[in-house]
Each structure stands twice: as structure tokens, then as C-alpha cells.
């Protein structure tokens, strides 16, 4: 079978690839890579999901069983009540979605002002916003915590939302996209009598769907995954996020229930990944190479 290179020309030439030895080596490498990747990245997840389907005795058994002997969903039910997963999931969803809406409102209007309204000191402001990206997150953690304590925002969702909205990278990505929108479009709308809010809403935003999508996904996923900051800010057990709740209770629960909790915590981001795979991968390379 001929191995087609498609549009790519890589290190190994199509000719070499299709020599008898080339083909043998190619298929061997391919099969090895597929098996290794599946074992390295999918098998741990399989082990997690099936671990939660085993009974307490089976999960501690040596050597372990590859398939649960008697698959049961008891551990999931146990995890649900022990970790209070309903509350944790609800909290996390509320913080992520609320933070997303606030972050988009703040960052989109800032990027719009910097890109299309071009105020005095605009470049200075953008520069100062980007400078925050230079400061390592762990270093700002403590003074930020002190600030949030001073403002009395502990155990208040705004303690998560305000710092999340101060995201220089989002402003930068959005501004760069808005910059590419032709001036004529905005001017035409202005001649038709549209004010700045109308221009943003009816001209800029509809064109900017791709970048809005990428920024939205990354904002939601980042806040869903975040651990250290919510650990400090949302300390009341009925206000904790999923990650923090799992970490606090994990010491007191059996191994199969922990795995049940982890499976539940993984489901939302995995679903997001399945649906928005293309956007996520495109956003990853666009943001990091050009940013």
C-alpha cells in the first residue's frame, strides 16, 4: 500500500517512505506510537473510570484486575454524597460562567476602546496590561490575596471574577483581531448614525465570532481547572470549587470513591474538548506562536 504524503513534505521524502524498507519501518513506528500513546494517555483514564467501578476490596487487590469483576456504580453514588459533588459542581459552574460573562464584558470593551476608539495613552495602557503577563502568577498570589482580604472579598465570587477579568492576554488577542477589521466598516456604520455601543454590538462582535469563541473557551476552561487561587479565596466548604473540594476531602474517602469524584470532575472539560477540539487547538497555536 502506498503511503500518501498529502500536501506535506517532511524530513523523510515520499520516495524513501515508499521504499520496501521505508514502508516496513513506517508501519512499525506508526503502530508503536499509537500503542504507546494509548497506553500513556488513554489507559490512565481507563484505569480511573474502571477503578471507580470496582469494589473496595477489588481496588486494593494485588495484582489488580484489568476489568472490574463485578462493575458497580456504587462508588460514583458514594463519591456524589461524600464529596457533595452536586454543590461543588454547581459552585464551579456558577463561578466559571459568571466569570466568563464578566471577563468578556470587561475585556471586549477594553479591546474595542483600544483598537477602534484609540484614546490618549492607549498604547501605554495596553503596555501596562501586557506587562502583567511578565509577572509570574505565583509571585503575585500573595499580594493579590492580601488585597482581596483587605477588600473583604474572601468567599465571595467577585474574589475570583475581578482578578480573572484582569487578563492582559485576552485583551491583547481581542485587540489584535479588532485591529484587522477594516476601518471602512466602522465608518459606514457611523455614517448610518450608529453610536459606539451599536458599532461594537452590530459590526465588530458578529465579525469577531472566531476569536470570541477561542477566548471564551479558554476563559471557561482555565477557571474550571484553576486550583491554587480558589483554594485561597473560596474556603467555606459550601462555597468551594470542585478541584478544591476534591483535594480537601480526598484524604477521608476510599480509593474507589476518590476515582468516582475524579471522573465526575473530568467529564465537563472532556466534553468541552470533544466539541471544541478544533477551536482549542487552533487557539493554542495562534496564541502562543504569534503572541
Amino acid at each position: 500500500m502506498t503511503i500518501h504524503s498529502g500536501q506535506f513534505r517532511t524530513i523523510i521524502s515520499p520516495l524513501q517512505l515508499n521504499s520496501p524498507w521505508g514502508r516496513r519501518i513506517y508501519w512499525t513506528v506508526l503502530v508503536t506510537v499509537v500503542i504507546t500513546f494509548t497506553l500513556a494517555f488513554v489507559f490512565p483514564l481507563y484505569w480511573m473510570i474502571t477503578g471507580a467501578m470496582k469494589t473496595g476490596e477489588e481496588i486494593a487487590q494485588m495484582p489488580p484486575t484489568l476489568f472490574p469483576a463485578d462493575p458497580t456504580l456504587d462508588a460514583y453514588a458514594e463519591a456524589w454524597s461524600l464529596f457533595d459533588l452536586g454543590t461543588l459542581l454547581g459552585n464551579t459552574a456558577y463561578y466559571s460562567l459568571g466569570g466568563w460573562i464578566f471577563c468578556m464584558l470587561v475585556d471586549v470593551s477594553a479591546a474595542y476602546a483600544l483598537s477602534k476608539l484609540r484614546p490618549m495613552f492607549g498604547t501605554v495602557i495596553l503596555g501596562a496590561m501586557l506587562a502583567t503577563l511578565m509577572i509570574p502568577a505565583m509571585v503575585v498570589l500573595i499580594p493579590l490575596y492580601v488585597t482581596v482580604v483587605d477588600l473583604g472579598l474572601l468567599n465571595n465570587p467577585w474574589g475570583l471574577w475581578f482578578p480573572a477579568a484582569a487578563n492582559g492576554f485576552n485583551v491583547f488577542l481581542l485587540k489584535r483581531f479588532f485591529d484587522s477589521i477594516p476601518k471602512e466598516l466602522v465608518e459606514a456604520a457611523q455614517i448610518d448614525g450608529a453610536g459606539p455601543v451599536r458599532v461594537l454590538w452590530s459590526v465588530i462582535l458578529p465579525i469577531s465570532r472566531p476569536i470570541l469563541g477561542v477566548v471564551s473557551i479558554f476563559t471557561i476552561v482555565t477557571s474550571f481547572k484553576d486550583f491554587t487561587w480558589p483554594l485561597l479565596v473560596m474556603t467555606d466548604s459550601d462555597k468551594m470549587t470542585l478541584s478544591v473540594g476534591l483535594s480537601q476531602t480526598a484524604g477521608m474517602v476510599s480509593q474507589n470513591a476518590i476515582m468516582g469524584g475524579l471522573v465526575v470532575a473530568s467529564i465537563p472539560t472532556i466534553i468541552v474538548f470533544f466539541i471544541f477540539q478544533r477551536h482549542i487547538m487552533a487557539g493554542l497555536t495562534a496564541g502562543s506562536i504569534k503572541g
Binding site: 506535506f8 476602546a113 475524579l262
Partner: protein, 288 residues
């Protein structure tokens, strides 16, 4: 629209962002500086103590060890987290089948909340029924103590860290590899360059910038490692996994000594800023 009105409208749109940045990004940067010269527990009024916090941190037992652990972790994480993704990307780029599957799978752990990866691996590292020792047992190798031994604890943390982070680096390298013009490989081949020479003289020079950039980014990211030691080892065994970030966290939230934590943060920041400045220079060269 008049200049004044345009400016007023613009600042109207900017005010929410300016508030967020001023209070939650710019002010904390200044506060970090102030904090490191104060003694404060957030309850009593702070007092100015000059350089005492720095002196205290430097003389604190375990200070040097924390830096050594951080550097060791960074070095090990780079060997795994920098070299492995590049080699993986090189191989993936040569493959003509299962590309979508392989890319999906390598990025899967990046999507998981870190707490999931960390708690999952804590179970794998369990010296008894844990997966890793069971696999070692299958091939008749003796089990390791993993997180329980000062010799293997740090490398165990690096394994988790690499597993959950390597996906993004791999995909970024893959994108960079696909941007290499095919003519270069064809020309190199005509000149009689073998596969290794093509990698050395075409692939690496063509991706040099992104490689250097990622190196800097990863150094900065790994030197801040926190969740792994916090969740997996609690700094142990025998303090072998106390990193600077972890130590800082302990000073602040276990000892309520925010000043010393601030001083440690300043030191960490200076080290990281040197790398960041280097990175900025590389980005500039890219644009030139």
C-alpha cells in the same frame, strides 16, 4: 466625533478594565514590593522592617535546599518536558495516519483539571496496589517507593507534571514543524543530507526561535511549581520536594508571615524576570 468626546467614550469603555487591572493586577505588583519590607499577619498593623524579611528567608533552614529542589525540578522537567515533546512532535509530523487521534490523545491530559491528574497519579504511585509498581512487578522488577523516598519523590513529581503538560508544547512544535517550507528538505536531500543531517541543518534552525521561546516559557512555568508538591508530597519526604513556591505558600498561609513570603516572592520574581527579559529579547528578534 470630537477628540474630547472620542476620548471620553473610549475611557467609558475602558473604565471597568482599568479598575480590574489597577486593583487586581497593578496594585498587587506594588504591594508585593511593599510587603517584602514589612512585617504583617494581616491582623495587626504592619510595621516596616527594612531588609529583615530577606535576611530571615535567606537564613531560614531549608532555604538553599528549596532553591536546589526548584532548580532540580526545573532541570528534570525540562529534560522531560522540553525534549520529549519536541521528539514526539518530530515523529508525529512524519506519520501520515492517525494524526487526529494522536493529537487528540496527547492533549487530553492538558484538558483535565490538574487536581484530577495529581490525585490519579497519587494512586498510581502507591507502593502497594499502585499501578506503577504492579507493572514493574509484571516484568519482575522490584517496586519503587516513588513519593515516599527522597531519591524518587522529585522525579515522580516531574512525571506527573510532564504527563499533564506536555500536550500543549507538542502541538505548538507540531504547528511550527508544519510551517517549514518543503523546498528546504528537498534541497537538503539533493545535497545528499541524510535524515539526521536534515534534522540538524533544516528542522532545528527553522524552529529555533519557537524552541528557545518555549524553553524560556517552560523555565518560568516550572520554577513556579506548586500543586504537585502541595498535593503529592507536602514537601516531604525529608523536605526533598520543598520548592521555593511551596515554601512561599507555607510562610504565608501556614505561618501567617506574609512579609517573609513577600521577600521570597521578590527573589523568585527577580530570577524569573531575568528569564522573561531574555524571552522578550528573543520575541523582538523574531519580529525584526
Amino acid at each position: 466625533m470630537g477628540v474630547l468626546r472620542r476620548n471620553l467614550t473610549a475611557y467609558g469603555f475602558l473604565c471597568a478594565a482599568l479598575f480590574c487591572f489597577a486593583v487586581f493586577a497593578w496594585y498587587p505588583m506594588i504591594r508585593e514590593f511593599i510587603l517584602s519590607f514589612q512585617e504583617t499577619n494581616l491582623i495587626d498593623p504592619p510595621t516596616w522592617v527594612g531588609l529583615d524579611n530577606f535576611e530571615y528567608a535567606v537564613k531560614y533552614p531549608g532555604f538553599t535546599e528549596a532553591w536546589i529542589a526548584t532548580l532540580q525540578f526545573t532541570f528534570l522537567a525540562l529534560v522531560c518536558g522540553f525534549v520529549v515533546p519536541f521528539v514526539v512532535a518530530l515523529v508525529l509530523n512524519e506519520l501520515r495516519h492517525a494524526r487526529a487521534y494522536l493529537r487528540f490523545v496527547v492533549y487530553l491530559p492538558v484538558m483535565l483539571p490538574p487536581i484530577v491528574a495529581v490525585l490519579l497519579f497519587r494512586w498510581f504511585f502507591d507502593p502497594g496496589p499502585g499501578l506503577f509498581n504492579q507493572i514493574l512487578g509484571l516484568v519482575n522488577l522490584p517496586g519503587l517507593a516513588w513519593l515516599d523516598s527522597p531519591h524518587t519523590a522529585l522525579i515522580s513529581l516531574v512525571i506527573v507534571s510532564t504527563w499533564m503538560n506536555m500536550g500543549s508544547a507538542t502541538l505548538i512544535y507540531l504547528a511550527a514543524l508544519q510551517n517549514i517550507p518543503p523546498e528546504l528538505y528537498e534541497a537538503a536531500e539533493l545535497d545528499g543530507a541524510g535524515i539526521l543531517k536534515r534534522i540538524r541543518h533544516v528542522t532545528i534552525p527553522q524552529t529555533k526561535l519557537i524552541l528557545l521561546l518555549m524553553l524560556m516559557l517552560q523555565i518560568v512555568a516550572t520554577m513556579q511549581v506548586f500543586i504537585e508538591p502541595y498535593m503529592l508530597t507536602g514537601g516531604g519526604p525529608a523536605g526533598s520536594t520543598v520548592t521555593v513556591a511551596y515554601m512561599m505558600f507555607q510562610f504565608a498561609f501556614t505561618n501567617q508571615n506574609y512579609g517573609v513570603a513577600g521577600a521570597l516572592g521578590m527573589m523568585l520574581m527577580i530570577v524569573l524576570l531575568v528569564f522573561a527579559a531574555f524571552q522578550l529579547r528573543l520575541t523582538r528578534e523574531d519580529k525584526a
